[in-house]
């Protein structure tokens, strides 16, 4: 049996499959469907300093092989998270990743400081949410801004720090390099790509936020390319996501350079998707007589 475990910045994941932020809440609901201890980790819903209401519904629209969402970071705030959600999640034997968002650098820092004292295992800095007016994606679309926020957060952050990048950029490698040089322990990508749908009968956008973030299988080839680009630019680990729905997708994005994968939208199509992906990866490794999942990371053999 192949070794599925992965270590990133001193954190051990029993397998390389993590549920993606925003698609899995804080795990409570999915715990009614299966045992969360089976997961490599859980990236919790993005949290902010104060509770947030999020955007008005409808917040989701279907697109060819994907969805648009415009939740807009509805969350109960960091204090609630630390007090009620983290201790509950700790019952499970899985890595807890806190996903942090905010309007200003100071917000991010403050949230991170409060998380320092909690039992979360890792922090994922969301500088790429396209569904909020301020902050969010703005930090993620320039290497300078991404570097600055990473630096500020790194200064106060006592936990392993991953920075989650936006795909809405011309050169994601530059952004990854900037956050690496400011001390990020890992990068995760991709967040959603801004999109829009319009109801041709009402002539109104389907989302009340007008635009939303595209995720799901439609974006998978873009995610693979970006993971590939980023993993050639940085030496820190890359956490890959974007449209992963099957174990074949997971293996593919790992070959492109991801050490760990996150599964988001696929949870909607099939709540058992992460478990099926874990099983599939294991079988693939066994059939190919590969003793550790880490051996396939970045092993794509490109054409020169």
């Amino acid at each position: 049996m192949a070794d599925l475990s992965v270590n990133i910045a001193g954190v051990r994941f029993k397998n390389p499959v993590v549920t993606a932020s925003g698609t899995f809440g804080f795990g409570r609901e999915f715990s009614q469907v299966y045992d969360l201890s089976k997961l490599g980790g859980i990236a919790c819903k993005g949290i902010t300093l104060k509770p947030r209401d999020g955007n008005p519904p409808p917040r989701i629209a279907e697109t060819p092989s994907g969805i648009l969402n415009s939740v807009g970071l509805q969350n109960p705030g960091v204090d609630w998270f630390v007090k009620h959600e983290v201790p509950w999640l700790k019952k499970y034997d899985t890595v807890i990743i806190a996903n942090v968002a905010g309007n200003e650098i100071a917000d991010y820092c403050e949230v991170v400081e409060r998380l320092n004292e909690s039992q979360v295992d890792m922090i994922e800095l969301n500088i790429s949410c396209p569904n909020v007016k301020q902050g969010g994606v703005a930090f993620g679309t320039s290497a300078k801004a991404a570097g600055e926020i990473t630096k500020a957060v790194r200064n106060v952050c006592k936990k392993p720090l991953a920075v989650k990048l936006s795909p809405n950029v011309a050169n994601i490698g530059d952004i990854a390099a900037a956050v690496e040089s400011e001390g990020a322990d890992a990068v995760s990508l991709i967040n959603t790509i801004t999109g829009m749908r319009i109801d041709i009968n009402t002539r109104r956008p389907i989302l009340t936020n007008n635009t939303g973030g595209l995720s799901g299988p439609a974006v998978f080839p873009i995610a693979v390319r970006m993971v590939y680009e980023v993993s050639r630019r940085v030496t820190i680990p890359v956490i890959g996501m974007g449209g992963i729905a099957t174990w074949q997708d997971a293996v593919e994005i790992m070959l492109a350079g991801a050490c760990l994968v996150q599964v988001g939208t696929a949870n909607f199509t099939d709540p058992y998707a992460p478990l099926k992906i874990i099983e599939g990866i294991e079988q693939y490794l066994d059939q190919n007589v590969i003793s550790s999942v880490t051996e396939i990371v970045g092993k794509v053999q490109i054409y020169e």
């Binding site: 925003g22 698609t23 899995f24 809440g25 795990g27 409570r28 609901e29 999915f30 009614q32 469907v33 299966y34 819903k45 209401d53 999020g54 519904p57 409808p58 917040r59 989701i60 629209a61 279907e62 697109t63 092989s65 994907g66 969805i67 969402n69 939740v71 509805q74 799901g216 299988p217 939208t265 949870n267 909607f268 199509t269 099939d270 709540p271 058992y272």
Partner: protein, 254 residues
């Protein structure tokens, strides 16, 4: 582990009115199902499952019945599934109607809102009444089914092609002049709002089943929210899939 997906067998899937289908599946999920709950059905090639309310539950035969209307691509695909084929169903989901404390319930169903009320009607402690409204005769469904479990079943259509020519709300106003301590309604939002207003004005409790576009169907992704009252004149967003789909009308910020 109350919620599961199940690849279950389709026993029947046939048209019962214009563009409206009756679907019966055999599934162990019937054991936990409660009236007013829904399931999330996987439709081939679609990223999102389609939420459909449970119309009838048969715990002995281990079946669930659904009645759905073809709207877009997902339900179109669903309508082509044949008896004997299998279907991937996630559920049962959400909170349904609570009729356990009511003496006289009046059900108000608008169009494709009627189905979730049927099982609820069966499970009332006292024989309820029903008011069902449809666009026209061609879209009328479940009238005979409701007659099995209800004392009075009134029908209205927008065009007068069947029953009363007008809106269910007009029939409800009349009906509420006599005995009723709970109104359970499902249908288009403007209808629900009007029904709630009528019931509340008369001091009658009203439970409404809401619809919203969904992602996970479990309560985790926060895409399916509706505004519910919270604090002094404030609101918060609650998940229709988990906090609802059935909510006391007084909680709803319309």
């Amino acid at each position: 582990m109350g919620i599961t997906t199940n690849i279950c067998t389709v026993l029947e899937n046939s048209q019962i009115a214009s563009g409206i289908y009756n679907l019966t599946v055999k599934t162990h999920q019937s054991a936990d199902a409660k009236p007013g709950q829904f399931v999330n059905i996987y439709c081939e090639g679609k990223t999102l499952r389609r939420p459909i309310s449970i119309c009838e539950i048969d715990k002995n035969l281990q079946t669930l019945r659904f009645v759905y209307q073809v709207k877009g691509e997902g339900t179109k695909w669903l309508s082509r599934v044949q008896a004997g084929q299998s279907l991937d169903i996630l559920g049962p989901l959400g909170h349904g109607f609570n009729v356990s404390k009511a003496r006289k319930v009046v059900f108000v169903g608008g169009g494709i809102g009627a189905p979730p009320l049927l099982e609820t009607a069966k499970q009332c402690n006292f024989i309820p009444d029903a008011i069902l409204g449809f666009k026209s005769k061609d879209f009328a469904i479940l009238i005979d089914d409701f007659k099995k479990y209800c004392e009075n079943v009134q029908v209205s259509t927008d065009d007068g092609s069947l029953g009363y020519h007008g809106l269910v709300t007009e029939l409800l106003k009349e009906r509420l002049q006599s005995d009723c301590d709970l109104v359970c309604a499902c249908g288009p939002k403007p209808m629900l709002k009007a029904v709630a207003k009528i019931a509340e004005e008369r001091g009658v409790e009203c439970q409404v089943s809401l619809e919203e576009r969904m992602g996970c169907g479990l309560g985790a992704c926060l895409v399916c929210v509706c505004k519910v009252k919270s604090g002094e004149g404030g609101f918060r967003y609650a998940q229709v899939c988990r906090y609802g789909p059935v909510i006391n009308s007084k909680e709803v910020v319309w």
